[in-house]
C-alpha cells in the first residue's frame, strides 16, 4: 500500500470551492509586485484531499495503533479528552493578544498548570513559553548565563555534559555561547565523578544532567555532584525530558538542581504529532526566578490573572516565541494533569518503572544482554546486541526493522551513542502486561531468526508499505521536493 503524491492528483482548474470566498475583490497591489509564477499548490477536490491524507495516515505506526516502546520518547496514551477540550471553539478562536479581560478562562488554566509543574518538580517558578525540550534547554542555559552575567561572573565559558547526554544538550550549550565539555560515564552508567572533579573549575558555568540518565539508570551520587558543581560556582541544569521516570518519587528541586525543562509532550502526554508540537516548560529555583522567559501568568491583586512581562521581570532572558509558546499543547497538558491528579502523578513513575523493570527482567531471562545488568531500570533500559553482532552479525537496525513486521514499533536505536548496537526500550505506564509479553515473544523470535536466517532478517521489514530504505541515496541524490518532470526518484 502506497499513495501517489497529492500533486499527481492535481488538475488545472479543479478546486474545493466551498472553502474560499467567491467573487472579485478590489485589491491594489503596488505595480510590479504581482505574483508571476505558479503557487505550486495542488488543485484537487475536497474529497481527493480527504482521501489522500486519510490514506497517508494509515501508513503510519502510532500509539493509537501500535505498542511503541521508543526509549527517551515516552510514547504513552494521549487521552482523547485532552485533544477535544483544547479544541473547544473558544480556545481555538482566542487571539493571543486579546485583552486579559477576555482571557481569564485561558489564563486560569495556564496559572494552574504552572502551579502543578512547580509542585511536581520542586521548583520555585515555572515559565510555560518554551516550545519544545530543546527550547526549554535553551531557556535554562540562557538563565544560567544571565545569572552569572548579572553577578559580573563573566569568565565562565563551559557547560559540562555527560557523554551519554541527548544531542540537544551540547547543541544548546553552543547556542548559548558556551563550549560543551563531555564528562565520561563509568561502567555502571553513572557519571565518572573523578572526571567531573577534574573538569570543574572557574570556567564552569554549569552542568546539564538528567537523572535517571539517558542510560536508564539513576545517578546515585547526585547530591555529591550537586555539591561539587555548586562549590565550583556552577549551576545544575536538569534535562527533564523524561520526567516519567521520577514523577512523584523524587523532585529535581530537591536534588539540588537550579533549573529544569520538562517535555510536556512526553510526561504530560501531549501528542507527538509525528514530530511535534511539543512544550518545554522550564522550572527554576529561587535564584533564577528573575530570569525566567516571558510571558508568565501571574495573579493580580483582585485574584484575576494577568501576564507578567518585561515590566515585572526586567531581568528576564526575554521572549522565545511570538506569543506564549504552544498554548494549545499546554491546555492538553493541563487537562491531563487534572485527570491524573495528585495520586495519579505518583503512579506515573511507579507503573512506568514496573513496566520497564518487568520487560527488562523478561528480556534478560530470554537471553538478551543488558547494558547495565544489576541496575534497576528507570522508566527505560538498554539492551545491547554487541555479542550477537559479533557472533552472527545482527545489528540493532535489523532487530528494529523486523519488529515492525511483528506489529511493534522499534525501540530507540543507536542512542545513547556510547552503547554498541543498543536498543533503548521504554514501555511507559499505559501499556498492559500482555503487550509487554507479546513484545518479548517477538524479540525471542527475532533472536532466533538471527541465528537461523540472518539474510532474511536483513531483508526486513517485509510487511510495511516499503522495504528498507536507502538512506545513503537519500542524502547523496537529494530529492526534497516534487518537480513535475521528475521520474519517480
Amino acid at each position: 500500500m502506497t499513495e501517489s503524491l497529492i500533486f499527481e492528483h492535481s488538475r488545472p482548474g479543479r478546486s474545493a470551492s466551498a472553502q474560499y470566498p467567491a467573487g472579485d475583490f478590489d485589491v491594489d497591489l503596488p505595480a510590479g509586485l504581482e505574483r508571476t509564477s505558479e503557487l505550486g499548490l495542488p488543485e484537487v477536490s475536497e474529497l481527493q484531499a480527504v482521501r489522500h491524507f486519510t490514506r497517508l495516515s494509515q501508513l503510519n505506526f502510532s500509539i493509537d495503533t501500535h505498542f511503541y516502546p521508543l526509549g527517551s520518547c515516552t510514547m504513552k496514551y494521549n487521552p482523547r479528552a485532552c485533544n477535544r477540550l483544547a479544541m473547544l471553539p473558544e480556545f481555538l478562536s482566542r487571539h493571543p493578544l486579546a485583552p486579559v479581560s477576555a482571557s481569564q478562562g485561558f489564563l486560569a488554566c495556564m496559572y494552574d498548570l504552572q502551579e502543578i509543574l512547580k509542585d511536581v518538580t520542586g521548583m520555585k517558578g515555572v515559565s510555560l513559553t518554551p516550545m519544545a525540550g530543546a527550547q526549554g534547554e535553551f531557556a535554562g542555559v540562557a538563565m544560567i548565563r544571565a545569572y552569572h552575567d548579572a553577578r559580573g561572573d563573566t569568565g565562565r565559558t563551559e557547560i559540562l555534559v555527560p557523554d551519554a547526554a541527548h544531542g540537544t544538550n551540547p547543541a544548546t550549550a553552543t547556542m548559548c555561547g558556551y563550549v560543551a565539555r563531555e564528562i565520561p560515564t563509568d561502567d555502571n552508567g553513572d557519571v565518572d565523578v573523578e572526571a567531573l572533579k577534574a573538569a570543574l573549575g572557574p570556567q564552569t558555568a554549569g552542568i546539564m544532567l538528567t537523572n535517571p540518565s539517558t542510560l536508564g539508570v539513576f545517578e546515585r551520587r547526585i547530591s555529591e555532584i550537586s555539591k561539587l558543581v555548586h562549590e565550583a560556582g556552577g549551576l545544575l541544569y536538569y534535562d527533564g525530558a523524561n520526567l516519567n521516570a521520577i514523577l512523584g518519587k523524587v523532585r529535581p528541586g530537591d536534588m539540588g538542581f537550579d533549573v529544569i525543562h520538562m517535555n510536556l509532550h512526553k510526561t504530560f502526554s501531549t501528542p507527538h504529532g509525528g514530530g511535534g508540537p511539543g512544550s518545554g516548560a522550564v522550572g527554576v529555583s529561587e535564584r533564577l526566578l528573575p530570569y525566567m522567559p516571558i510571558p508568565v501568568v501571574g495573579k493580580a491583586n483582585d485574584d484575576s490573572f494577568r501576564w507578567l512581562d518585561e515590566d515585572d521581570l526586567p531581568q528576564s532572558i526575554g521572549r522565545l516565541s511570538g506569543f506564549m509558546g504552544n498554548a494549545g499543547v499546554l491546555l492538553r497538558a493541563y487537562v491531563y494533569a487534572r485527570m491524573l491528579g495528585r495520586d495519579g502523578m505518583h503512579r506515573v513513575a511507579e507503573f512506568a518503572a514496573l513496566n520497564a523493570n518487568y520487560l527488562m527482567a523478561r528480556l534478560e531471562q530470554a537471553g538478551f544482554d543488558l547494558a547495565f545488568p544489576g541496575r534497576r531500570a528507570s522508566h527505560e533500559f538498554i539492551v545491547t546486541l554487541k555479542r550477537q553482532h559479533k557472533s552472527v552479525g545482527v545489528t540493532a537496525t535489523d532487530v528494529a526493522k523486523r519488529l515492525l513486521d511483528h506489529g511493534f514499533h522499534a525501540p530507540t536505536v543507536y542512542f545513547p551513542l556510547l552503547v554498541p548496537e543498543c536498543l533503548l526500550i521504554e514501555p511507559t505506564e499505559t501499556e498492559s502486561k500482555e503487550a509487554l509479553d507479546a513484545f518479548v515473544d517477538a524479540m525471542i523470535a527475532i533472536a532466533k531468526e538471527a541465528e537461523d536466517d540472518i539474510e532474511h532478517l536483513r531483508g526486513a521489514p517485509y510487511t510495511m508499505p516499503v522495504r528498507r530504505l536507502d538512506d545513503v541515496r537519500a542524502a547523496r541524490q537529494l530529492d526534497v521536493r516534487y518537480q513535475p518532470d521528475d521520474q519517480a526518484a
Binding site: A16, R35, L41, N60, P96, R342, N357, D479
Partner: protein, 457 residues
C-alpha cells in the same frame, strides 16, 4: 487508576518476574533523603466528565468575541476536514518518523509540504518546520551568518518595521552567539524602510539584511531593491513573509536580480487556528547551495531495497543528535502536526483558494479602514499600499478604547505605543476574509458610541 491498565494480579506477577518485593523497591537506588512526599499543590484528580465541564466553563468565560487583531496571528477559515484528519490517531499520536518504513504517512506529508513551501516562496529547499515565525527568523539569521561566505560579520540589518516581538525573540536567541542587530528606521509617511536607511550602511560588513513582507504595519517594502542592495553589499537577503501574501505577490525567490537566499515566516495562517498563540509553526526555505546550513529536519525521497520509492529523513548530519555541539541548531521536536495541517489546508484551498483568501482579506481591511476613518478623530497613518493590516491614529488614547471594546465583545486592534513609542494613540487593525460587512459595521458602531464623549471633549 486513570490510564493505567494493571490489575492486581498483573502487578503481582510482574514483581515476581522482576524479583522485587514491591513497586517501591524499584526505586531503591534513589537515596532515601531525596524521596519526595505528597504533592500537596496538585489537586485531587477529576474525572473526564468533571474536567470537561471545567474546561467548558473556562472556554465560555473567554467567549468568541469579534476579533480585529492580526499583529502576527491571523484569523482565517480552516476547512473542517483539516483538523478532522490531523487529529486522527495515526498522525496525532505518532512520533518523529525515525523508523521510516513505519512512518511513510508522516514522511510523505512532509515531502509534500516541503514542495508546497518551495513553490510558494520560489526557493529550492524547505525544512520540515521550526517552532514559529519568530524563532524561524532567529534561526534564519544564525544560518545566514554561518552561510555567508563573503562576510564573517555578525551584523544584521533589521528594519524596525519587522514585528517588534520577532526582534525581541531574535535578540533573546541570537545574542549569545554575538549577532548584532542594526536597526533601520521606517519612513513615517509610507511605513516602509526607505532606501536611505540601507544606504547608510553601504560598504560596511554585514551578514544579512532582513526583508519583511508585508511588514508589521501591513505595508509592502521595496523587496526588489532591498534584495539587490543586500547582494551588492555582500550580505544575504533574508525574507520574513506572511505566506498568504505570497498568493498574490512575487515569490521571494524572484525578488531582485537573484532572489533572496533564505525565506522564513510564520506558518499559522496556513491552517493553524489562533489558539492563544500556538501551536503554530515556522517555515524556512533557501537556495540549494545553502541546504547544509538549514536547521531542522528535512525529508527526502529515496528507494527501498526493491527499488520502490519511499521517504526518509535525510541530511541528518546537520542535526543535534548526530553533530551534537556543532549542529546547525539544537532543534529536535518541531511542529509536525501543524505542518500536517498546513499541507492539508494548502491542498484543500489550492492556488485559487489561497488567492481568494488573500484578496478578500486585503479588501476587508480596506473596507475596515475606510469605515473607521469616516469616524471623526481617526486617520490612517501610512500612505503605502498594504496587505491585510493597517495602522490608524486616534485623537485620543487607544488603550481605554480597546478595553471598552473588549467588554463589548469586539477585540479592536493592537495598541502600538508599547512597542513603537512614537506611534502614540495608534492602533494596528486587521480584517481577514472572516469578517463581513456587518462585522465591520458592528465595530464602527460600537467604537462610535465609545468615542463620542472623547471627541466631544
Amino acid at each position: 487508576m486513570p490510564f493505567i491498565p494493571h490489575t492486581d494480579t498483573d502487578v503481582e506477577q510482574m514483581l515476581g518476574a522482576i524479583g522485587a518485593s514491591s513497586v517501591e523497591a524499584l526505586f531503591d537506588e534513589i537515596p532515601a533523603a531525596l524521596r519526595c512526599g505528597r504533592l500537596d499543590r496538585v489537586p485531587e484528580r477529576m474525572t473526564e466528565m468533571e474536567i470537561t465541564r471545567l474546561m467548558h466553563e473556562r472556554a465560555d468565560a473567554d467567549g468568541r468575541p469579534l476579533n480585529f487583531i492580526g499583529a502576527g496571528a491571523y484569523e482565517h477559515h480552516v476547512p473542517a476536514a483539516v483538523w478532522e484528519i490531523v487529529t486522527r490517531g495515526e498522525f496525532y499520536s505518532a512520533y518523529t518518523p525515525y523508523q521510516a518504513e513505519a512512518s511513510q504517512g508522516t514522511l510523505q506529508v512532509i515531502y509534500e509540504f516541503q514542495t508546497m513551501m518551495c513553490g510558494l516562496t520560489g526557493l529550492d529547499v524547505s525544512n520540515a518546520s521550526l517552532y514559529d515565525g519568530a524563532t524561524a527568523l532567529a534561526e534564519a539569521l544564525l544560518m545566514a551568518v554561518r552561510a555567508n561566505r563573503k562576510s564573517k560579520s555578525h551584523r544584521i540589518l533589521m528594519p524596525r518595521s519587522v514585528s517588534p516581538v520577532y526582534r525581541q525573540v531574535v535578540h533573546a536567541i541570537c545574542a549569545a552567539q554575538q549577532l548584532k542587530l542594526v536597526e533601520l528606521d521606517y519612513d513615517p509617511a509610507t511605513g516602509a524602510t526607505p532606501e536611505a536607511a540601507l544606504a547608510e550602511h553601504a560598504g560596511s560588513d554585514i551578514a544579512a539584511v532582513v526583508i519583511p513582507h508585508p511588514n508589521f504595519f501591513g505595508c509592502f517594502e521595496a523587496v526588489d531593491s532591498m534584495t539587490d542592495w543586500a547582494h551588492a553589499n555582500g550580505a544575504l537577503a533574508v525574507a520574513v513573509v506572511n505566506p498568504i501574501a505570497l498568493a498574490l505577490t512575487r515569490a521571494p525567490g524572484e525578488w531582485g536580480e537573484q532572489g533572496v537566499d533564505i525565506c522564513c515566516g510564520e506558518g499559522q495562517p496556513l491552517g493553524s487556528p489562533l489558539s492563544s498563540g500556538g501551536p503554530y509553526f515556522g517555515f524556512m526555505t533557501c537556495k540549494q547551495a545553502l541546504v547544509r546550513q538549514l536547521p531542522g529536519r528535512i525529508v527526502g525521497r529515496t528507494l527501498d531495497m526493491d527499488g520502490k520509492p519511499g521517504f526518509a529523513l535525510t541530511l541528518q548530519a546537520r542535526e543535534q543528535h548526530i553533530r551534537r555541539g556543532k549542529a546547525t541548531s539544537n532543534i529536535c521536536t518541531n511542529q509536525g502536526l501543524l505542518v500536517t495541517a498546513a499541507t492539508i489546508h494548502m491542498s484543500i484551498l489550492g492556488p485559487v483558494g489561497l488567492q481568494q483568501v488573500a484578496r478578500a482579506s486585503m479588501a476587508n481591511t480596506r473596507k475596515l479602514v475606510a469605515a473607521l476613518t469616516e469616524l471623526p478623530g481617526i486617520e490612517p497613518v501610512f500612505t503605502g499600499a498594504g496587505f491585510h493590516e493597517a495602522v490608524l491614529r486616534f485623537d485620543q488614547p487607544v488603550r481605554p478604547l480597546v478595553d471598552a471594546l473588549g467588554e463589548r465583545g469586539v477585540i479592536g486592534g493592537y495598541a502600538l505605543e508599547g512597542v513603537y513609542p512614537e506611534l502614540t494613540n495608534c492602533l494596528l487593525v486587521c480584517a481577514t476574509e472572516t469578517k463581513t460587512d456587518a462585522d465591520i459595521d458592528t465595530y464602527v458602531q460600537t467604537l462610535a458610541a465609545l468615542m463620542r464623549p472623547a471627541s466631544a471633549a
